[in-house]
């Protein structure tokens, strides 16, 4: 695959020296730092609000634990962070096509397959690094706030979510290869997000398909998760298929 190493080096350099370094890691770290304290004070806040409104309803909330902090983390991943992934990845290929840089590099001995694969690897590397760091921060802050923070459920929940997020990176790469409009690709990505999350409500889909990974991180944290083998394997297989589709489309496109 001609030019892969050089182009991947460019991609990683671009992450290190542009806004890309700050947006996704910034969001993830902010959520990781704020999640556990928020979980700690949420029952108090809710109680205060109820008493201020003098509803007469006596609300007894259980004392928060590390599980609440982890649930906060998994909810943030499944919504805010996944939205960010969709938006950031939606212009992965089309932005280079629009700006003319794709023509500049693809008239050199860089194969289009290497171009697409380097895009996927760099986006995946940034995502995995940021979310792994975020999980470690969540673990540390949770331990500091609650005095208890088992690593295994957090690692399993984060790992299951990463399989889902990689699937969306592959999807956005494929959409970005097909469409010239970044916002159009992002819009379609959101449509798929909604359809997949609705599909996750179906039991068969939840047990066998990537849709099951939407609720899986929270279920892992609460100890209610079923076997995740099929959803994870199917998500990774589908990711590979989407990257291959992105390559196929891009190889055939005229620039």
């Amino acid at each position: 695959m001609s030019g892969f190493g050089a182009f991947l080096g460019k991609e990683l350099g671009e992450i290190a020296r542009t806004w890309r370094l700050w947006v996704l890691p910034g969001i993830v770290l902010f959520l990781a730092l704020s999640g556990p304290p928020l979980a700690k004070v949420t029952p108090e806040l809710v109680g205060t609000l109820m008493s201020e409104q003098q509803t007469g309803v006596l609300l007894r909330l259980p004392d928060p634990t590390y599980v609440d902090a982890y649930l906060q983390w998994t909810k943030n991943l499944s919504q805010l962070v996944l939205f960010a992934v969709i938006i950031i990845s939606s212009g992965a290929i089309s932005s280079e096509r629009r700006s003319g840089t794709a023509v500049l590099v693809l008239t050199k001995p860089l194969s289009r397959r290497a171009f697409v694969l380097a895009k996927f690897v760099s986006h995946a590397a940034l995502l995995i690094t940021a979310v792994t760091l975020g999980a470690l921060v969540t673990w540390g802050v949770t331990y500091a706030v609650f005095g208890e923070a088992p690593l295994r459920p957090l690692a399993e929940a984060t790992g299951a979510w990463l399989a889902l997020a990689l699937l969306f990176v592959g999807l956005m790469l494929a959409l970005s290869a097909v469409m010239d409009s970044q916002s159009g690709a992002a819009g379609l990505g959101f449509v798929v997000f909604i359809a997949t999350s609705v599909g996750g409500l179906c039991r068969w889909a939840a047990e066998h398909k990537p849709a099951g990974l939407f609720g899986a991180p929270s279920d892992v944290v609460t100890g209610q998760a079923g076997p995740l083998g099929w959803p994870v394997v199917s998500a990774l297989a589908l990711t590979g298929a989407l990257v291959a589709a992105a390559t196929l489309v891009f190889v055939r496109r005229e620039l």
């Binding site: 542009t18 003319g100 023509v103 500049l104 008239t107 050199k108 001995p109 194969s111 005229e254």
Partner: protein, 308 residues
């Protein structure tokens, strides 16, 4: 002389539009080749096919004997390309872009560093430390030429390299191109005739997706550059104009308000003998008799016809 580029029967159709229509072209190795045509004539489409960015509908294009649709990476290893609107990674500096381009060709180490420094000097970017995002248009275009030279290409393809530049920027880029003559085959598309006259030794004129003529610049102006003769006589020029219009070697006779006759001829030797004779027959005195060749611009306007 072998050919760097050979194109045979090349066509490209976009929906209803035929961008290239059975084009034939030979670009000799070592030449500085001007690829002339009005906007929409098919210049950029030709370059896109030659660089593997687009596929031909029919026909064949070869670079150094290799089919551009099959041996894409082998072809690209031998060429340098400056697109018509080059896009750069704005966060890089000029030397970083050149280094990255060199790595795409498999370069590295001290040899690449030396090449980068030489090209930075050639592009007049020594001492410029800002990112490309802060470059002027002229600096970008010079950097574009420099990045196209990073692999010391046997063939340099430039698409309208001077069209968006001010006179100083144009001169700088043309000086760069002229300095490559003899070392590298340079194939550049343009609609600016003075650029071709200044740096090219060969030229092809494209009209409606076909090459209407291909020759050296000298051949073109002598073959298609009818000579022009300006004549001033004592007395009214009308009878002389009528007389000249009947001559087989006179292709066009015009009479300016000042009384000067402007005659285009395809046989200058005959005109030199017969015009003074006609002046004498009509009892006129010859005040001015001045010959001149048509410029490439006039040839281009005739051959390209201003058509899209």
């Amino acid at each position: 002389m072998s050919n760097a580029i050979e194109v045979r029967g090349l066509s490209k159709v976009y929906g209803e539009k035929r961008a290239l229509d059975g084009m034939n072209l030979d670009v000799p190795s070592g030449s500085v080749f001007g690829f002339l045509g009005p906007n929409g004539a098919g210049k950029t489409t030709t370059l896109r096919i030659l660089t593997g960015l687009a596929a031909p509908t029919t026909g064949e294009a070869r670079v150094f004997g290799r089919d551009v649709t099959r041996a894409t990476n082998e072809v690209r290893a031998d060429i340098g390309v400056l697109p018509d609107v080059p896009g750069f990674y704005e966060w890089m500096t000029g030397p970083e872009l050149l280094r990255f381009a060199g790595r795409l060709f498999g370069g590295g180490g001290p040899a690449l560093e030396r090449r980068v420094q030489a090209l930075v000097d050639l592009a007049g970017l020594s001492g410029v430390t800002s990112r490309i995002g802060g470059y002027s248009r002229g600096m970008r275009q010079r950097l574009g030429v420099a990045q196209a030279l990073i692999n010391a290409p046997k063939l340099l393809m430039l698409d309208e390299p001077t069209s968006a530049l001010d006179p100083i920027g144009r001169k700088e880029v043309l000086d760069m191109i002229a300095s490559l003559g003899g070392r590298t085959t340079v194939f550049f598309s343009t609609h600016i005739l003075s650029d071709v006259e200044r740096v090219c030794d060969h030229v092809a004129i494209l009209r409606g997706g076909r090459v209407v003529i291909q020759a050296t610049v000298g051949e073109l102006t002598s073959r298609h550059g009818d000579s022009r003769i300006d004549i001033e006589v004592t007395g009214p020029p009308g009878p002389l104009a009528d007389e000249l219009r009947s001559q087989p070697w006179a292709t066009e006779v015009g009479c300016e308000e000042s009384g000067t006759l402007s005659v285009k001829v395809d046989n200058l030797a005959a005109a030199r003998v017969e015009i003074p004779a006609a002046v004498a027959r009509l009892g006129l005195g010859l005040v001015r008799f001045e010959t001149g060749e048509r410029s490439l611009e006039e040839v281009f306007v005739d051959l390209a016809g201003g058509e899209e």
